[in-house]
């Protein structure tokens, strides 16, 4: 299916032009454009963002994964609190989990203190939150399927036949 192939290419590099994708897949560029428009319309493609190696930037950034135990609300389950947490711009990812806790979120701020404040003021105060556990990120190795730490070198230097 061309739809899957276009998606696969975009997931690899969302900056490929319609023309480039068309060439790689052997279909006309305007056909690719139509497929992408359709994927966007159907909400299958939700957006395009950049993957930044924050460690390379001079600015400070601290990230943490926070586990939350919460009391689900009658009828609404976990959606009500999830919707609230989704609104905070510091929260990058939010998931409902199976296992020992309920919600997991990934958050990034400038300092450790910012994260502590966020947990204390924004999360712990939500009335359905029972407990929180904060795990700070020490090093980023891989993000969104990309190796952001080790740079792989091409070792194929010896034979050119």
């Amino acid at each position: 299916m061309n739809k899957d192939k276009v998606l696969q290419l975009l997931e690899e590099n969302a900056r490929y032009s319609y023309e480039e994708m068309g060439v790689m897949l052997g279909i006309p560029a305007d056909e690719v454009e139509k497929i992408v428009a359709q994927l966007e319309k159907e909400g299958i493609i939700r957006g395009y963002k950049v993957i930044v190696d924050r460690d390379k930037l001079k600015e400070n950034v601290v990230s943490a994964i926070i586990e939350l135990k919460v009391t689900p609300k009658r009828d609404l389950g976990f959606d009500e609190i999830a919707e609230k947490i989704t609104q905070y711009p510091e929260v990058e990812d939010l998931y409902l989990m199976s296992g020992g806790y309920d919600l997991a979120l990934l958050i990034s701020c400038e300092t450790f203190k910012d994260i502590a404040m966020f947990v204390a003021q924004r999360l712990a105060t939500l009335d359905s939150v029972l407990s929180t556990a904060t795990h700070f990120v020490l090093c980023r190795y891989k993000e969104k399927g990309l190796d952001v730490h080790f740079s792989q070198t091409d070792e194929r230097r010896n034979v050119w036949y």
Binding site: M24, R156, W160
Partner: protein, 389 residues
């Protein structure tokens, strides 16, 4: 001591590979965008590596039988039968070798008497001619043409056959041109050979890397199996170059003699690699398909890129090379490669490294990421612009 008087004349007469020069220059430079290598950029699939580790942990580190693990020979026979419809008896018609390279070597050595003529389709892989010469055979190149997508035509073949012709080396999908022979092309070749005693070494190492359709083995053409030595291996299809594993299949009397050479020169192919290869044949179909899909994208991308730059390129349907013409620049292949390397630090290989008929062409490997290819195309574009002023 004057070693040139001591060393074998035949060995000393072998010309060093034409690739070496660029290779040395490129490897001494910084920031080179190489498009030179002839091996996959993918790692060997993890399950294959894991299988190898497992056998090492279990201590399976002794020699195997000379012709290779029985399990592997059976897996090879099954693979060739289900993929290409050719049937071989794993007992008598298969030998596991140290890469396709050894298969080529022992096939030529087992067949040739001094003075026998071997037809080689040029441009082609660099290993055939030296081995033929070492064996005392005579290399008879058959130049092929870009307008035929570098396929061997029956007329070209017929024109080079003499009563000394012992062997034809048929290397498709082709390194360096990327050309393939479809069933009808192979049938036309078979027609010429049918009433002769000419043997065929069919180097099908790139069989899995065939685009726009499936590879057809020469041994699958009616009547050809009895004269064909099929050479294949794990390097390209399974991204296993460093494991040094391949195989040759053919008529039992030929394989028996080849195995005799193998037994004395090699003993057996690397044991760990043989165990890993069983796993590769059994469980890697999906890995192959996703690698082929990725090569295919790069292939379309780079062919389009070269054509847009004005370096005409027919659509290569196999392996991972394109063979664009650089005649429009007025330079020889050698000049083009040298200038491009010094001025833009892009390394490609002159077509002449693969035979005289490669003049006017360069071999460009697309066994690199799209990002790498994009940068190479950008630099080559600049180079051409500066040339054209």
């Amino acid at each position: 001591m004057d070693y040139s008087k001591i060393l074998s004349d035949r060995v000393q007469e072998i010309k060093p590979s034409g690739i070496r020069k660029y290779f040395d220059i490129a490897n001494s430079m910084e920031d080179v965008i190489a498009l030179g290598v002839g091996e996959p950029d993918f790692k060997t699939p993890w399950i294959v590596r894991a299988a190898a580790i497992d056998t090492l942990e279990k201590g399976k580190t002794s020699y195997t039988s000379n012709s290779g693990l029985e399990l592997l020979r059976k897996a090879i026979a099954h693979y060739l039968s289900s993929k290409f419809g050719v049937e071989y008896d794993p007992e008598k018609e298969v030998v596991v070798t140290v890469g396709g390279s050894e298969g080529i070597d022992i096939c030529i050595r087992a067949l040739l008497n001094p003075g026998d003529e071997v037809l080689i389709v040029e441009p082609c892989y660099v290993a055939y001619a030296p081995i033929i010469e070492l064996t005392g055979g005579k290399v008879v190149p058959i130049p092929t043409k870009a307008e035929n997508h570098f396929r061997l035509t029956p007329e070209e073949l017929r024109a080079h056959i003499t009563d000394k012709t012992k062997l034809l080396i048929l290397p498709y999908p082709n390194n360096p041109t990327g050309g393939v022979m479809r069933r009808e092309h192979l049938e036309a070749i078979a027609e010429v050979l049918r009433d002769t005693d000419i043997m065929v070494l069919s180097d099908e190492i790139y069989a899995e890397l065939t685009y726009n359709g499936r590879h057809v083995s020469f041994a699958a053409i009616p009547g050809m199996k009895e004269r064909t030595i099929l050479v294949n291996g794990f390097s390209k299809a399974f991204s296993m170059t460093g494991w040094r594993l391949g195989y040759a299949c053919g008529p039992a009397p030929v394989i028996a003699q080849m195995t005799k050479i193998h037994q004395f020169a090699i003993m057996c192919a690397p044991t760990t690699s043989q165990h890993a290869a069983v796993e590769a044949l059994r469980r890697c179909e999906e890995n192959i398909q996703s690698m082929v899909q990725e090569y295919d994208r790069r292939r379309r991308y780079i062919v389009d890129g070269f054509n847009k730059l004005g370096l005409d390129c027919f659509e290569p349907e196999g392996a991972f090379y394109i063979f664009p013409s650089i005649q429009s620049t007025g330079m020889t292949s050698d000049e083009f490669c040298e200038k491009l390397l010094y001025s833009k630090r892009v390394a490609v290989v002159p077509g002449t490294a693969f035979g005289a008929s490669g003049e006017g062409f360069v071999r460009v490997s697309y066994s690199y990421s799209i990002k790498h290819i994009q940068e190479a195309l950008r630099r080559i574009g600049e180079f051409l612009q500066e040339l054209r002023g």
